[in-house]
């Protein structure tokens, strides 16, 4: 499992998240805040998770399961794009499929905080 834990500073507007699974591999991503699941599928594109003033203090969980369907490379890479907060942010998680392994779970958590 590959993990990322960071924070994201909010603005009052609508917050969106995009998750890209790269390297030609197949991945499905779940986006949730607490127990509320916003999406769980292969395409997470500009998904609205709420307004900044409603999200402060919550934790955004993004769980991706990536399978090595492309054997030309051992790479697995997931890119997270957060928009609508104090500033747009992009994070990337890289990993490689190890011996006998054809799936990797990526778990990213974002603590959503108010801008000072």
């Amino acid at each position: 499992m590959k993990t990322l834990h960071t924070n994201y500073k909010l603005d009052p507007g609508v917050i969106t998240i995009t998750v890209l699974v790269g390297s030609g591999q197949r991945g499905n991503t779940l986006v949730a805040i607490g127990g509320q699941v916003f999406a769980n599928g292969p395409v997470i594109n500009a998904l609205e998770i709420g307004k900044g003033n409603e999200l402060a203090g919550k934790t955004l969980s993004v769980i991706s399961n990536v399978s090595q369907t492309n054997t030309s490379t051992q790479d697995a890479v997931v890119t997270y794009q957060l928009r609508g907060g104090e500033e747009d942010r992009e994070h990337r998680l890289d990993d490689g499929f190890a011996d006998g392994e054809v799936q990797i779970q990526f778990v990213a958590t974002f603590d959503l905080t108010e801008s000072p």
Binding site: G22, L30, N65, R92, D99, Q105
Partner: protein
């Protein structure tokens, strides 16, 4: 002069993660390591077949080929093949783009560069070393059985989504293990399906070879260069490959241009593969007209373990060594880590 050639081939390959160039063993099976002869090997004239089926490249593959007329098994031919595109990370390359690449993306994804060195190439005057560099890429990469791919992808999506929920809910270990097992099975089915390209594949290749008589660097000179196209068509049932090659070669010392045209038929059923090939060579003189004709049997008796045998007539390069009598053995070296390049 030896007329018989006994060949044992050991093919080693490893894929490299651009982020993790580590010496870890890969899970890739030796089946995938059965890289066809690199363009450099083809130009050196040490390839077991003159008409190779195009395959998608690995990030890095190494081939050792031992050919000897006196039953010595020390390798005399080495090749390294690199797919530059896969040595870099591609965070923006989606599953869909990978499976439906346009011409430019296909060229990038399948471009591989090879370097080979040989001490037994027929183009060597006497003792010495011949070295070659080559490149190849798919202009058209055929297609995957789309209906089956969509079906498997849909099943994999369902399992991955269930895994995500299981992770969110911290489901019991047994539930997660069961889902992981289903994921493994489906992923491996997709891997196998993706490798099995159907329809028309068109590969373009080119290379150049230099010889170093007596292994003296100063005496090195360009001996041969060439370019070729290999259209291939695969029928799924029965599993039959039809391959055609059209090749241009320039023999620099002899100042002559050579043209090859030929075909190969490959029939595969379970672990057994049978093929026959014929390649006619034309030149600017009648003396350069020659041909190659051979039959090949390949049997896989276990995963990653192959026996191959080839018999036939090779091109007459002027030395009279035209008999091809090859016995090939692929043994399970594929899972041994051969590179350790440190970790970022």
């Amino acid at each position: 002069m030896n007329n018989g050639i006994l060949v044992t081939s050991l093919t080693l390959a490893v894929t490299l993660s651009s982020r993790e160039l580590v010496g870890q063993t890969t899970q890739t099976t030796l089946d995938e390591f059965r890289t066809p002869a690199s363009p450099a090997f083809v130009l050196l004239g040490v390839a077991p077949s003159a008409v190779e089926r195009p395959t998608t490249p690995k990030a890095l593959a190494a081939t050792i080929l031992s050919a000897s007329g006196d039953l010595q098994f020390l390798p005399k031919n080495y090749a390294v093949e690199v797919a530059p595109y896969w040595l870099a990370s591609h965070p923006g390359l989606s599953y869909e783009q990978f499976h439906d690449p346009g011409v430019l993306q296909s060229l990038k994804q399948t471009l591989s560069l090879s370097f080979a060195a040989s001490k037994s190439s027929l183009i060597l005057p006497d003792s010495g070393t011949a070295v070659g560099i080559g490149a190849r890429s798919f202009i058209s990469s055929g297609y995957t059985d789309r209906k089956r791919l969509d079906e498997l992808t849909s099943k994999l999506d369902a399992v991955q989504q269930a895994q995500n929920i299981a992770e969110l809910n911290k489901s019991p270990r047994a539930v997660r293990d069961s889902l992981a097992e289903q994921n493994d099975g489906l992923t491996r089915q997709i891997q196998a399906l993706v490798k099995d390209r159907l329809g028309w594949i068109l590969e373009a290749a080119a290379g150049i070879v230099a010889v170093y008589p007596q292994d003296a660097f100063a005496s090195g000179k360009i001996a041969r260069f060439g370019a070729w196209l290999t259209p291939a068509y695969r029928l799924p049932h029965p599993q039959l490959d039809v391959l055609i090659v059209t090749r241009f070669l320039r023999d620099v010392p002899a100042s002559q241009s050579l043209f090859d045209i030929g075909a190969r038929l490959v029939y595969s059923n379970r672990g057994l593969s049978m093929s026959g090939e014929y390649v006619q060579r034309f030149g600017n003189s009648s003396a350069s007209k020659t041909h190659r004709a051979s039959g090949n049997l390949e049997y896989r008796w276990a995963e990653g373990k192959y026996l191959t045998a080839t018999f036939g007539r090779n091109f007459d390069e002027g030395g009279g060594r035209t008999l091809i009598a090859l016995i090939g053995l692929d043994i399970g070296f594929g899972k041994v880590p051969i590179l350790s390049l440190g970790k970022e």
